[in-house]
Assembly symmetry: C2
Homo-oligomer: 456 residues x 2
């Protein structure tokens, strides 16, 4: 492996300059004003893929943001790996909380700082630079295809259609994704399960205009009051979701699984310190690691209504809004859950208001079998790079497209993610440690070498 270490060391200034060129593009898929940035970012990835050794590189239009495609064909005897990444990023708000500007990347304290530094531009760079090394040293023994999409952070609304439309082009034996995180910098782990997600916007309408709270208050339903009651009622005092039917498809954890989760080194006090809370809170009867990976959750991601400016304005507003989401576990179907939640909110609301529930996105959960050859190759790569065999863990995040890969392409996905909790993805001050970036490249190189030998 000393060759790859040397290669990284000698090429790191170029890696950083290429990575920064991506981070400087505010490719925020949730905000339509960034339409041109999406195109720019896709074209930049296409250049970088081509320079790394990919062929047939193409920016492929979709109904939404384009998909970047590239491939390198070795021989039809070899298995094919489809590498998936996404070039879109989360909005950067609240901007004031960033130490350095989100789209002006810098190296500080041994890490790269900026929106997308980890999720997913940094992690995707790991894939591309490992590939580049193998190509330039003639070590690639499997066929590789790349697709980088631009709508992951908004639920990949067009990707399933894209997969269907290009089923032959994308055919692969396994999908490789670097978009998850590890337990810690010295605790390498591979994600073997993901939660699903369902996300809705709720609009509550009361009177047809904002009213004077003195003249009407007490006699007319206030839509913010009603919204708070509706959302408060969605969980009970045991931290369980009250929506009828919500738990119908939730599989209880087996004793074995619970033992495995309990064996994961986890310092709850350090976890609390890192986010500065005095007490954790969740579903009664489950541990923190079970709650944030294997159990469903309900989070209000945003809420707004009435007067939110400076000072005091008395008003009984016409409307109130919330963005709400549930993390789902494997077997729960987001569309079914969506129907249950919408019915619950609509039927629980008093006749004094009207409620509209709009699904914004959703996806199912996923479980990866531990005896999959590609999984074992990934574990080997991790072991070589981090000096320690990775743990297999289920995580609480959601990558809805992992499910689509299975359904549409018939391929399992291996989640070789290198994120850390301290990377603050989706938050201000997102960052990615350079030591992890380097080890990540080594681990992916290790994966390809192991997977290539296994296939021979």
């Amino acid at each position: 492996m000393s060759d790859i270490k040397t290669y990284i060391h000698e090429n790191e200034p170029r890696f950083l300059s290429e990575w920064f060129s991506l981070l400087r593009i505010p490719s925020i898929s949730a905000q339509t004003e960034h339409h041109d940035d999406m195109q720019r970012c896709a074209r930049r990835w296409a250049e970088l893929l081509h320079e790394a050794g990919a062929e047939r590189v193409e920016v492929m239009p979709t109904e939404g943001n384009p998909v970047v495609y590239g491939e390198r064909f070795v021989t039809s005897d070899a298995p094919t790996v489809l590498v998936y990444g996404h070039y879109d990023v989360m909005p950067a708000e609240p901007l004031a909380a960033w130490t350095s500007a989100p789209f002006e990347p810098v190296v500080r304290d041994g890490a790269v700082w900026g929106r997308g530094a980890d999720d997913d531009k940094g992690q995707t760079m790991i894939q591309v630079k490992a590939f580049e090394y193998l190509v330039r040293h003639d070590l690639l023994r499997v066929n590789v295809k790349f697709i980088f999409e631009g709508e992951e952070e908004i639920g990949s609304p067009g990707l399933e259609r894209f997969l269907s439309d290009h089923r032959d082009l994308l055919r692969a034996d396994v999908v490789l994704v670097s978009d998850t995180s590890m337990l810690g910098p010295d605790l390498p782990s591979l994600t073997t399960g993901l939660r699903g997600l369902a996300y809705w916007e709720v609009e509550v309408t009361g009177p047809n205009r904002d009213l004077h709270s003195g003249h009407f208050g007490g006699a007319v339903a206030n839509p913010i009051n009603v919204l708070c009651k509706l959302l408060a009622g969605m969980t009970d005092s045991n931290g369980r979701i009250t929506v009828p039917g919500f738990y119908d498809d939730v599989e209880e954890l087996s004793p074995e699984e619970r033992r495995m989760i309990a064996s994961i080194p986890f310092d709850e006090a350090a976890y609390m310190r890192s986010i500065d809370v005095r007490q954790l809170e969740g579903e009664v009867g489950y541990s923190t690691l079970e709650r944030n990976s294997c159990r469903p959750s309900f989070d209000i991601c945003g809420i707004w209504g009435g007067y939110t400016g400076e000072g005091a304005k008395t008003v009984l507003p016409s409307k109130a809004y919330a963005k709400i989401s549930c993390r789902l576990v494997p077997h729960q179907q987001h569309e079914k859950i969506g129907r249950l939640v919408a019915r619950y909110l609509e039927t629980s609301a008093p006749a004094s208001v009207s409620v509209r529930v709009t699904p914004l996105h959703g996806g199912e959960g996923y479980v990866c079998p531990l005896d999959l050859p590609a999984y074992r190759a990934a574990a080997q790569g991790f072991g070589q790079a981090f000096g320690r065999a990775p743990l297999a863990v289920r995580r609480g995040g959601s990558i809805p497209i992992v499910n689509s890969f299975e359904r549409v392409l018939g391929a399992k996905t291996v989640l070789m993610g290198f994120g850390l909790e301290s990377d603050a993805i989706h938050s201000p001050n997102e960052n990615f440690r350079l030591d992890i970036f380097r080890k990540g490249i080594e681990a992916v190189v290790g994966f390809y070498l192991a997977y290539g030998s296994a296939a021979r």
Copy 2:
């Protein structure tokens, strides 16, 4: 009265041009960026007061926005009326809901449209133009003092201090205020009671930064979820406020009062149609008119937190905020209620978050005796102008300074208000009907003539 009708008719173009010059100034006290507009508006009122016949007109500095003062002394034998108004207005948001721009007044459908058209620039114009008529026709038989403040919409934080500092200058037998509304255009009424108000901002802090709802959701308390539960818990299913001690000082309505309220002509179906709701909602056991005038209420005036932009962003936010208010009834003290509400919220919150409650403003309720000579003069003026004796009604709004006038100056207040519900004060498309404006001037002239004769 034909003289006054003629005077109004002949001078109306000038009245409108003066009124519009005030409405064009966005004197929004809640927003510090309008600091200069407050000064401009005060100076403009000083010019108009002077032109109307006031003497010793002065823009008096305070720690906040200045107070406009003017007076006209007739004889020390005559009683003194202190006319109060306010030149500040509510924020105009949501701007998109206005048919014509809030600070570009227009006449349309027999009304003046713009922020402050009624509250309180329009109603204060009624006072000034009635005074002008009496001065120019040598009919003024009482001493008149004017104070127009610039902080009413943010709770008049500096006015009580101003009254104390200028007790001698402001000494008066009665205070006259046009800042309330009537039951309807053909149902003249005088407001004889007001509710008090207490208003707070609530801040709930969970983790020290926005978290990924996939990685943390289900295990870490979400401050928006907690805020919704706290606020939802402040009222019960009977529409009663649950804060311990909240109703301790609330006086039950007497059977006589309830009979009087029941006798007020009130079309509940029309009321519902006008605000487009299918059902009214409030404290069980009370009628709509009791609920919105004589009973306390709890309204969330604003709420915000997390991601509120376009599309779907999954986040477990660090903070959530709300602006909440209670309308209070006479005898409830806003400071005591503030302590109860703060204690309730702070002690009800789980240890997984911290809660901060900041009082933003407050004031006590008020009741006016019906045998007050100035009240009877006002009733007479209304009768002459509207052709029908006004009803005495208690209203749900709050004018905290009415209480200060009594406490600091020892003077009762007569509330000669000319607003209509359709004026949409505090809302988009605020307006003031010109026929009401004219009758208002007649009614105030009638008040001065009756009050002057009674005093002789």
